[in-house]
């Protein structure tokens, strides 16, 4: 029977099937960070277990790290304690550790691919739901809980029922100013925040084939926001080009051998999916969210839907708009904003900074806007400097911060104050996500940049067209 990409990778990692139960699923690569791993190590030790394959686990500090003055001791004692726990646990169990200040440090889902740890056909987990990012390389990658982190440390396996299969095809060519983030927000708006629950998604079609690896990572990253366990894209020449020569990718004969395998990683003609959706690139415009889940997104030029036209509970919808202080029928364009956040595992890569700079170059940050520009890793910082983007950023009145998860989840000091409105390139607009009482509009780096210079929600095409 014809197999899907997902079947090929999943089935090759099943150690055994449990009767009327989950599969015992082998994990090739395991990322850990300071927030979801300490209790797993406590559990491991209290059971008297050890880490069975320390070389398969990689530790990096990212969730609660400060994004200024990283050379100084971390001031918040609770964060410092978690960072120490990560470092000590890694040291004790022989796990590689990229702590604060390490040249390889950065957001786990940025540094994994950057260093060639992420590989096609691999299974990758991390105690973080945006682990789905790594699916961009044709890996099966998804987020797990702390109990499962302990399972991987102590056995290199987790117990998972095989998800159902969904394919999403987007064909045609994207218009000016429409990015990978917009494609993802469009799909999530169509699917709603729970439409893909129980599924693993394969993205296919012209739009994903044309997309850069960075763009593919953005799309796969957001798979969880429609409830999917993960998303993946078949590896191709672009994937191999990106990986070749990176620090931890196979070299020489091992590379050739790996390539032979990787070239078999595609969905065969006639392979079946449980469900399939088709969208047109030309229907997608720059997107923005208006509510308190990522499924509440619309084209930036559109108005907030009326409650009567929305699927799902009216009370929940009205509660959401109430939190945002928005009204049904409001236009999004022109809403005055207070903050802009560029960064996160969704949009903290070099391409995102290039996009941001393409708008702000020669312009000035609006006075009413506080902007936090947070690269995803030190390697991204280096690239920003190598390309001279740091000068564009500074000249436009912005400041570049140091790498970390930052205001995406506001575990460090980068908290949007209560009531303030933020245009954010991150992944979640949940109530209080960016700080208690904060209000978040999810958007692409282009929309964020255009809004940052205008001080209000702005369609980036107005600036891009003026530039052209």
């Amino acid at each position: 029977m014809a197999k899907t990409l997902f079947d090929k990778v999943w089935d090759s990692h099943v150690v055994r099937k449990v009767k009327d139960g989950p599969d015992v699923f082998f994990i090739d690569r395991h990322f850990i960070h300071e927030v979801t791993s300490p209790v797993a190590f406590l559990g491991l030790e209290s059971r008297g277990n050890s880490v069975v394959y320390p070389a398969r686990t990689f530790a990096t500090a990212d969730h609660n790290t400060p994004t200024i003055n990283q050379h100084l001791p971390v001031a918040d004692p609770l964060s410092a304690n978690q960072l120490d726990a990560l470092e000590n646990n890694a040291k004790k169990h022989g796990i590689s550790h990229w702590g604060l200040g390490d040249v390889n440090n950065g957001i786990v889902h940025v540094v994994g691919p950057e260093n060639g740890i992420t590989l096609p056909g691999a299974t990758i987990v991390c105690g973080d739901s945006h682990t789905s990012t790594h699916g961009a390389f044709g890996a099966i990658a998804f987020g797990i809980g702390t109990s499962e982190v302990e399972m991987v440390l102590s056995t290199q396996c987790i117990m998972q029922p095989k998800p159902k299969k969904m394919r999403i095809n987007v064909n045609g060519k994207l218009g000016v100013g429409v990015t990978a983030k917009d494609v993802a927000l469009y799909i999530i708006a169509k699917q709603t925040t729970s439409g893909a629950t129980g599924f693993f998604v394969e993205y296919a079609g012209d739009v994903f084939e044309d997309m850069t690896m960075e763009g593919r990572m953005t799309v796969c990253n957001l798979s969880i926001e429609m409830g999917a366990r993960g998303g993946m894209i078949a590896p191709d020449a672009k994937t191999f080009e990106y990986l070749k020569g990176r620090a931890q990718t196979p070299k020489g004969a091992d590379w050739d051998k790996a390539m032979k395998y990787w070239e078999t990683l595609y969905t065969e003609e006639g392979a079946e999916f449980d469900v399939e959706f088709n969208y047109e690139a030309s229907d997608i415009e720059p997107m923005i969210t208006y509510g308190t889940n990522p499924g509440m997104g619309i084209g930036v030029t559109k108005s907030i839907p009326l409650a009567e036209n929305v699927e799902g509970g009216v009370d929940t919808y009205k509660k959401s708009l109430g939190y945002m202080s928005f009204n049904e029928g409001d236009s999004m364009i022109g809403k005055e904003i207070d903050f802009v956040f560029l960064g996160s595992c969704t949009n903290g890569r070099i391409e995102d900074f290039r996009a941001f700079c393409s708008i702000v170059e020669g312009r000035k940050k609006a006075d009413n806007v506080t902007a936090w520009l947070v690269p995803g890793s030190h390697k991204v910082v280096d690239q920003i400097q190598a390309e001279g983007l740091d000068k564009i950023i500074t000249d436009a009145g912005f400041v570049l911060r140091e790498p970390g998860c930052s205001a995406c989840l506001a575990m460090n000091d980068d908290k949007i104050p209560s009531g303030k409105l933020s245009v954010s390139t991150s992944n979640r607009n949940f109530e209080g996500r960016q700080g208690p009482g904060s209000r978040t509009l999810l958007a692409s780096p282009l929309v964020a940049a255009a809004s940052a210079v205008e001080g209000v929600v702005t369609d980036p095409r107005t600036i891009l067209n003026a530039n052209a």
């Binding site: 150690v15 055994r16 009327d20 139960g21 989950p22 015992v24 082998f26 090739d28 927030v35 979801t36 300490p38 209790v39 406590l42 059971r47 277990n49 609770l78 304690n81 978690q82 105690g127 739901s129 682990t131 987020g143 797990i144 809980g145 702390t146 109990s147 499962e148 302990e150 399972m151 102590s154 056995t155 290199q156 396996c157 117990m159 998972q160 998800p163 729970s194 629950t197 129980g198 969880i224 409830g227 366990r229 196979p250 051998k257 790996a258 395998y261 889940n293 499924g295 509970g313 009370d315 929940t316 989840l409 575990m411 209560s418 949940f430 109530e431 209080g432 996500r433 208690p436 009482g437």
Partner: protein
């Protein structure tokens, strides 16, 4: 982390009909800084239970005296969406709940619940509405969750529905076992498999 066995639970329930309740509401990120499983009961639904100055919000169901001590929460559709933080499932358990009933759960949250001893019971949208209506009419309405027979019943009227759980997870819940016990017992099989992996 060991948990108490789950067999048959009869209890009143907290109603929380809001849809798409995400794990950032169940346990906000700023409370994830513990390196031990502590204080998750206090911070469970922190920003929906308390004002920023710490005053309890009287109209939030988890604060209403009439429901106090309930072991079940009946939640709106797509309960537990968002982050993979197991802290959300810990906070459910540590608050004193053993069962969440909803017409749909987010995958990772559901998995996490099963791993920490909270039974996620998925019912039809109609039955969820029946339960909400019953609790609204009588806050002391009891719900019986029978794991061996995989059945959830509104005690007063006898209305009931079956629910799905795989045999493996069911046995774990009934006995208080977890996956690590299982996996450690097949260590040799796993290490033989690991030898075959190319990277």
């Amino acid at each position: 982390m060991a948990y108490d066995k789950f067999e048959v639970l009869t209890s009143t329930a907290y109603p929380l009909p809001t849809e798409n309740v995400d794990t950032d509401q169940i346990i906000p990120a700023r409370f994830l800084k513990a390196t031990e499983r502590k204080y998750f009961d206090i911070n469970f639904f922190r920003d929906w239970r308390f004002e920023q100055d710490g005053t309890p919000k009287a109209d939030f169901p988890l604060n209403k005296e009439i429901y106090a001590g309930s072991k079940i929460l009946v939640g709106g559709r797509n309960f537990g969406s968002g982050s993979s933080r197991e802290h959300a499932a810990w906070s459910v358990y540590d608050f004193g709940l053993r069962c969440v009933i909803s017409s749909a759960f987010a995958d990772i949250f559901k998995n996490n619940c099963l791993n920490v001893g909270v039974l996620p019971v998925q019912v039809s949208a109609e039955f969820a509405d029946t339960l909400f209506a019953a609790i609204m009419a009588d806050p002391k309405a009891e719900i019986k969750v029978d794991l061996p027979n995989q059945r959830v019943t509104l005690v007063a009227t006898g209305e009931s529905e079956s629910f799905v759980i795989n045999t493996y997870k069911k046995d774990n819940m009934l006995n208080g076992f977890d996956d690590i016990d299982y996996l450690k017992n097949i260590e040799n099989e796993i290490s033989a498999f690991a030898e075959t992996r190319p990277f």
